[in-house]
């Protein structure tokens, strides 16, 4: 079975230079991730997980190494092209939600569409649809301050989906949630993966990483293990897939 690769990174090194001294955060990382894969990245605090995510998410450039995203070589792109890629291909979900304060759930979800080269004609309908998908059709006019943590995180998932990206990148998406809300969010990711979206979740939490099909472990800027999750609940994914169909 040939799986086409959406992400291929090779010997990625990331070094931060601050006032003369250098911090080597990523020390040569190579991974390839196939389309529709469900990956979690675990590792101790400070191991470079978030840094890896900023590189995968085209938020920063690697110091060296190559990165092919959907066939495009990211290292050669200018800032405006990186912005376009983020807009079209990647949806971000953050631990701290990062919703625009004072702005309704509807407009928060609409935000990425502002930065499309061409705003789709059915933008409003699309926003409504993704909000319905995350079960927030009754909260569209609420601002983040008027939403619970779980609801806010569902808004961010809706926001990450609005441009129909190939890849969802989530950094500790359940970190600010209780276990019940966390489980709901994870089930949302399961569904998204079931419909073929590539999902990469960074986490400390073993319950979260257990949702993924593949678990990468990072330690001190290097990948120390890359395993297929034996406990991957095909059955759950199956249920999700069935639900999608």
């Amino acid at each position: 079975m040939k799986i086409s690769k959406v992400i291929e990174i090779d010997s990625i090194i990331k070094t931060y230079k601050n006032e003369g001294f250098e911090t080597n955060v990523l020390k040569g990382i190579s991974i390839s991730i196939g389309e529709g894969d469900y990956v979690s990245v675990i590792g101790p605090s400070g191991s470079g997980k978030s840094t890896l995510m900023t590189i995968l998410g085209c938020l920063s450039q690697a110091t060296s190494g190559t990165y092919l995203l959907d066939g495009e070589e990211v290292g050669k792109l200018r800032d405006s092209e990186l912005s376009r890629i983020r807009n079209e291909k990647i949806g971000f979900v953050f631990q701290a939600f990062h919703l625009l304060p004072g702005v309704s759930a509807f407009d928060n979800v609409m935000m990425p569409l502002i930065y499309c080269n061409k705003t789709p004609a059915d933008a409003k309908e699309r926003v409504k649809q993704v909000l319905i998908r995350v079960g927030l059709e009754h909260r569209m006019a609420h601002t983040p301050g008027q939403l619970s943590g779980g609801e806010q995180q569902r808004v961010t998932i809706a926001r990450s989906l609005i441009n129909n990206p190939k890849i969802i990148l989530a950094d500790e998406p359940t970190g600010n949630l209780d276990s019940k809300n966390g489980a709901e969010i994870m089930s949302a990711f399961d569904h998204l993966n079931a419909e073929g979206r590539t999902i990469i979740i960074i986490t400390h939490n073993p319950i979260v990483s257990e949702h993924a099909r593949r678990i990468l472990t990072l330690r001190d800027g290097q990948i120390v293990s890359d395993e297929i999750n034996e406990n991957f609940k095909e059955s759950r994914a199956g249920i999700a897939r069935a639900a999608v169909k």
């Binding site: 920063s60 912005s83 376009r84 935000m111 502002i114 080269n117």
Partner: protein
Amino acid sequence: MRILKNLGQALRGLQLNKANTFLMTLGIMIGIASLTVIVAIGEGTKSKVLNRIANMGFGPESFSVYSGAGRLFFGRNRNTTSMTLQDVDDIRAMPGVAIVVPRQRKRMRIINKKEFTTTRVYGVSPEWQPARQWEVVDGEFFNDTDMDRKRKVIVLGNTPAHKIFGEMDPLGKKIRVGQVFFEVIGLLETKGLTESGYDPDDRALIPLTTSMSRLFRQTHLHSIKVVSTNSEAVGQTMEGVTQVLRRNHGLSPLADDDFRFVTPEGIMQWVTESEQALNRMLLLISTVSLLVGGVVIMNILLVSIRERIREIGVRRCFGARRGDITQQFLFESVLVSLLGGAMGSSLGWVLSSSLNHFDLLPAKITWDPFVLAFGFSMIVGLIFGIHPARKAARLSPDETIR
């Protein structure tokens, strides 16, 4: 259009940060308001002076010479007593001089029974009327006999006549000026208020001889009006007058003149000069206040950007380019500056109108300051917005969302 969407985001940003928005408008508002008021006062003063000229009855062939050093209407020494009828006689004897009118002047109370008012009382010779070309609509002007006999007769302008007689006919009536009774023998044609509120009809005229011996009880003159035979000769005549007066007043060659000329050109020149001075002051005040306003905007915007660093990061994550962020914040600063400009214009308009309405200062509202306000606010917004906006745009997306 992407730029319009960024404009929309800027508007929303301003709405969401109302306190900051308000603070940012303040500086510009004050700057523009002061600019509007200064322009209005400048225009008002100018039109007042121009109206004054138009109502002085100056032709190109006439001028006045006032007692006391100084310039135009601004005498430096009100106690100068050197100008006398001798000067008048000597000027009259000069070639090229057609009419010479000696004048005395005082603000006095005039009374008709219980009605009274204060007006400018002039003691003049009968030539005043042909020199000034001001018609008498009722009765007649005083003549040489009235002059010779120092008769207590008075010609009223419409304003005092109306104030103390109402609808009654004043002709032949006795009125009291100070302690002296006068008979009203004529009424001047009404000129009407000028645009700027100067009232040329607010005056009364009596024979000079009467004013000298019976009313003001002084022999020195307030001013002399001179009409030349033709307008080309005016310059020469003025030189001649200068010589005559300096000689008569016994001024040494080093001493300054103790008199001053008032001519239409002189007034015009003064208007131009004061307008230029005003414009320089205007430029200074508005530049300083707009700079201050701009710096205020810049600083608040810099603080605001620090507060909104997450917002910027999230926008960048979801596809905003550096250019989008620059545009959004530049729009914020321009919009806020324009808002300040609009508020300042309105405030300035209200202030100017009330200055005028309560007679504090002449102010004339024109379009110029509003156009200026728009242009200036726009430019200030752009200049002081560009630094914060670019700073916001340069933030790296990965660090802004940490």
